[in-house]
């Protein structure tokens, strides 16, 4: 008798928890009420994350420590050369920026101000293998909020989707759930680049067959939607497939950012 009652209690409890789980999933998927739970649990877990990424940190530290003198000298001279080249380019850029501002004034449109950025590093922590998420070591304490864009030195990487006090989760542009508003640099055509769950491919669907697209075309953020500031490099077209029946083309593009290997990233605060 006792056992029967016990078993029934466990079944009811299991049923309750299953319903609770389903309710939580629905709320988490549709609304943002559980974001606070996630942030707090995540904060409590942050020591674990640092513990897990410790070997990677130690590895890079040891690598720096044991670099030989000649290697350092070589690297130094290479960096000097690069800095000279960049400086020369910068001078040109400044002139261009000034000219651009002058032209914009002539046109009467608002001037583009440099974006505010926060430098962050990746925590080497694995997430769900079916998703394209990364953890960075800056959080709300550093001024990061949900929706901020994340870039590396080559292009757009993704956007912040969860924040706690000391770290934040970034959804990469290659996540199947992510869509990036983009624009072709050469033709000015606007479109949306969807992730496909692979770090090397983005997909642009349902472009008109008459659109002016060529392999090698560069894609930049269009700034539509307000999440990503305009004109950051996103991807390069690597394949175009035509759907003759429906008159659409689908474009495959390779992300510019090194989604799977960049360790240092920049988080961009949107200007409002």
């Amino acid at each position: 008798m006792n056992i029967v009652i016990q078993a029934r209690g466990a079944t009811l409890q299991a049923l309750f928890l299953v319903i609770l789980c389903v309710a939580m999933m629905v709320v988490d998927h549709r609304f943002h009420h559980l974001e606070i739970v996630r942030a707090n649990v995540s904060l409590a877990l942050s020591p674990l994350r640092y513990l897990v990424s410790l070997p990677a940190i130690a590895g890079s530290w040891a690598g720096e420590w044991f670099t030989s003198h000649t290697e350092l000298l070589e690297e130094n001279s290479a960096l000097r050369a690069e800095s000279r080249i960049l400086n020369a380019r910068l001078q040109k850029l400044e002139i261009l920026a000034e000219e651009n501002a002058r032209l914009r004034r002539l046109l009467g449109s608002s001037r583009k101000i440099a974006d505010d950025v926060i430098v962050a590093e990746l925590l080497s922590v694995d997430q769900n293998p079916y998703r394209q998420l990364i953890e960075i070591n800056r959080g709300s304490g550093d001024g990061i909020e949900i929706g901020y864009a994340v870039i590396d030195d080559f292009g757009v990487m993704g956007q912040i989707i969860h924040v706690n006090a000391q770290s934040a989760t970034t959804m990469l542009i290659s996540d199947p759930d992510h869509a990036t508003p983009v624009q072709f640099v050469r033709s000015g055509t606007r479109s949306v680049a969807f992730g496909r769950g692979s770090t090397t491919q983005l997909e642009l669907r349902y472009l008109p067959a008459t659109a002016d697209i060529m392999i090698g075309d560069e894609l930049v953020t269009s700034g539509l939607g307000g999440r990503f500031p305009a004109d950051y490099p996103v991807a390069k077209v690597i394949a175009i497939t035509e759907d003759r029946v429906h008159g659409f083309v689908t474009v495959i593009a390779e992300p510019k950012a090194r989604l799977d290997s960049s360790r240092e990233v920049l988080v961009i605060k949107p200007r409002d």
């Binding site: 409890q13 928890l17 789980c21 999933m25 559980l34 649990v41 877990l45 922590v125 694995d126 989760t169």
Partner: protein, 162 residues
């Protein structure tokens, strides 16, 4: 006594969560066994009066947060397999380790399918073959998990009676 028991269980679950987020090469990620499920199955077999659905629930929440999945996704799967285990553990824990492994494979497969199912509902279908890798590795690892945790339990002298 009881404080020590919970400390040991918490520490083992903590290790399981660390193993769940420790970086692996990309090809190996699909074969990562669900460590938290293995540890929970062990404890719910060894100390069924103390480790049950609520343990599964809170471990699941921690997994969901650390993996960036929906809150409730791993939780649901863990609650379901621990509930199944609660109904079978008496028959299973007297079996040989190899026979237990097959049972554990079944539980891990249910766990995996439930997690992937929710992914599918959200429009991210997962490849079918990917389902079997992680439970299979989990099955091979089960005897070691069992022996290690049993030794720890005996050292700490934990049993359901105390």
């Amino acid at each position: 006594m009881s404080r020590l028991r919970y400390l040991v269980i918490f520490l083992s679950l903590l290790v399981a969560v660390v193993l769940a987020i420790i970086p692996l090469p990309e090809w190996a990620q699909l074969y990562r066994p669900d460590w938290a499920a293995l540890v929970l199955i062990y404890w719910s077999m060894a100390l069924p009066k103390h480790v049950g659905l609520w343990f599964a629930f809170f471990t699941g929440i921690i997994l969901d947060v650390s993996q960036g999945t929906l809150l409730g996704q791993h939780t649901l799967a863990l609650v379901v397999i621990i509930f199944i285990n609660m109904n079978f553990y008496q028959r299973i824990r007297v079996l040989a380790l190899a026979q237990q492994s097959i049972y554990v494979f079944a539980l891990l497969l249910i766990d995996q399918v439930l997690v992937a199912w929710v992914e599918g509902i959200m429009g991210r279908p997962t490849p079918l073959l990917a389902f079997f890798g992680a439970p299979f590795i989990g099955m091979l690892i089960w005897p070691w998990v069992f022996v290690v945790l049993r030794d720890i339990r005996r050292k700490a002298m934990l049993s359901d009676r105390a």
